[in-house]
């Protein structure tokens, strides 16, 4: 049916003023992030949690509610040993990266005078990161190996008669590679906090008669704590989740939690891996919560 409209008969629609209540606006603004976090973080985590209670055989997973995966995971001495081993790596790497990271940042922030030079040197620190993580790790193998650079140097100079075996495929090699890989994650946040320290605070401390050591321990370190905490969170979570470094540098002789999960996944034991992931997540989250309790990182932000 055709509609005929005469000029002047149909009233033009009144302009609608769209008004949104401020409450709705706030929700709308938060929506994109909620959506992204929900779909890409919360939902997968929920799925991991659900799957961790399922049953499985070599080919399939069967929806179920079994605590078997947790019982098998937590009831085995392998799990405990692996967690302890991973924590050992985390503590060692954390302590070493914190020490190195703090002094590198300290040097950059207080001993380099011009801002330009500071930035140049900071960028120099990041140069190794232009190559891939795996390549940086594997490059250690020809250096540390039985016939590697260090060993041939030692043997040729007559310092040792036999090549030193523990340099490669050992815990030493794992920690070394991790320190190499993760120190920058400590340098960056500490450098950032040190740069914000008001230089007049240091002067005031000196005027009040503090020694350099006292300035360091009473002024600089307390003020650098938020940066250290952020660096700690980076390093600890990276080490706890690492599998490739442990596998390659220990030559498969050492285990980490993530490596255990990877083994389970490659054997298609997804529910067991999921249970492990949940346990690891709880552990890491409580570690992060502990760090946040000790240091208020909001000062940094």
């Amino acid at each position: 049916m055709a509609t005929v409209r005469f000029i002047g008969v149909g009233e033009p629609k009144p302009k609608r003023n769209i008004r949104i209540s401020p409450k709705l606006a706030a929700y709308l603004q938060a929506a994109p992030l909620t959506l992204i976090l929900g779909v890409f973080l919360a939902l997968p985590l929920l799925m991991i949690l659900v799957v961790s209670f399922w049953d499985y055989d070599f080919a399939q997973m069967y929806p179920d509610f079994l605590t078997m995966n947790y019982v098998e995971t937590l009831g085995s001495w392998v799990t405990w040993k692996t967690y302890l081993n991973t924590l050992k790596f985390a503590v060692l790497v954390w302590a070493i990266t914190l020490f190195i990271g703090f002094w590198v940042a300290y040097f950059l922030a207080f001993h380099i005078r011009t801002m330009a030079m500071q930035m140049v040197l900071f960028l120099v620190c990041t140069v190794p990161f232009l190559t891939s993580n795996i390549i940086r790790m594997i490059s250690w193998i020809p250096v540390l190996g039985r016939n590697g650079l260090i060993n041939s140097g030692l043997v040729n100079s007559g310092l040792v008669s036999e090549p030193v075996e523990w340099l490669l495929y050992s815990d030493f090699a794992v920690v070394l590679a991790m320190v190499h890989l993760y120190t920058l994650f400590m340098v960056t946040p500490i450098f950032n906090t040190l740069m914000r320290i008001d230089k007049s605070l240091v002067e005031a401390a000196r005027d009040a008669g503090a020694t350099s050591w006292q300035v360091l321990t009473n002024v600089i370190i307390p003020l650098a704590k938020p940066g250290m905490a952020i660096g700690t969170i980076f390093v600890v979570t990276l080490v706890m989740a690492d599998f490739s470094t442990v596998q390659v540098m220990s030559g498969g002789q050492s285990a980490s939690v993530a490596l255990m999960m990877k083994n389970q996944m490659s054997l298609l034991q997804y529910p067991a891996a999921a249970a492990n992931a949940v346990v690891l997540l709880i552990l890491v989250l409580s570690m992060v919560a502990g760090i946040l309790r000790i240091v208020d990182i909001r000062k940094e932000l």
């Binding site: 080919a59 040993k81 030559g251 996944m265």
Partner: protein, 429 residues
Amino acid sequence: MTDKTNKPSGLTRRSLLKTASAAAGLAAGSGAITGFPTIWAQSKITLRQFGTGVSNINAIAEQCKKDLGITLEMTATDSDAAAQRAVTQPNSYDIADIEYWILKKVYPAGVIQPMDVKKLKYYDKVVPLFKNGKLKPDSVIAQGTAPHTVGYVEKPGTKTFAKSETEWFTMMPTIYNADTLGIRPDLVGREITTWADILDPAFKGKTSILNIPSIGIMDAAMIMEASGKIKYADKGNMTKEEIDKTIEFLIGLKKQGQFRAFWKSFDESVNLMASGEVVIQSMWSPAVAAVRSKGIACKYQPLKEGYRSWGGGLGLAAHLKGAQLDAAYEYINWYTSGWVGGYLNRQGYYSACMDTAKKFMTEDEWGYWIEGKAAKGEILSPEGKVMEKAGAVRDGGSFEDRMGKVACWNSVMDEDRYMVRRWNEFIAA
């Protein structure tokens, strides 16, 4: 982790269609290409093959396209993922290119249909190893999942394997080999004759075994039995006590520092050997070739207890029927007609139909790879790289010498899950 590499040889859909129609036109014009039916090119048949990657070779797909007009889409996964995919996504493939121990796991799920041996053109040429487990009439049948034990069913539809040869073949065997220990002859400093030599205190911290549980446990079993510590009823199907003993033995060795590392991937084994970190270890034959191609001495040492062997074949997906099924048979007949066999033989593997492969190899190649004779000229890989110089003799000798001394086949145990758990304890210990 599943590495899925789809390799339709870099063709886009459009260029694929173009080539297909060009091939069809050519076929129509010339009447016939190489004597094979040309209908496949016209109806653009595509077969989806997935498997463990050993024989997922692009050159085969290209040759198949050329000879048959069938487009082959190949996907490579690791063996555990292959087993899973075979069972859970039976409609995602037409041809399963899997090992026999995987077949043992997946066949009972009803996802593979048996083949009518009357439709297999070269069935008579298949080496008897795959029919009755004996390479020669007087051979001893090896332990583990020997291919002939899962090679037949009584009739389509049954889920259990037949005891002996029948009309229904579960898989057409295509590729197999005998594995042993690799050594650095320049660094071991003595004769290596038995699997137990890896335990020699002289090699402390200079040995490695592979960290893939289902294969590593077999190498461990060969080592342990050779050292006289245990006598297995069936290495390929250990009892819980046997698994416990084996793992405890391995843990003891690890604590003493006998091993330098455990490798998981092919390149790791090559690097361990080439750098001299390790002088004796589990190895696969192409890895030995890779070390040698760097100019470093490496030997695939035959040992008196025999080899640990593996074998794979092509199985038909249960959903195939009609023209697709005919094309699949056509493809398998082409696969066994010789070109592929020659290709695999020249890679150091073995083809199941030796007679047909012979026609595609030079006399010198056949002599070197199969008969164990000294090479008269340079031996080239299928890609044309020099693998051996004149005068070289294959480690272990002839086909009959190597495949005639198989002690056990890769297998799947009834206590599989228990074994894997204990293996992880060994790695974590």
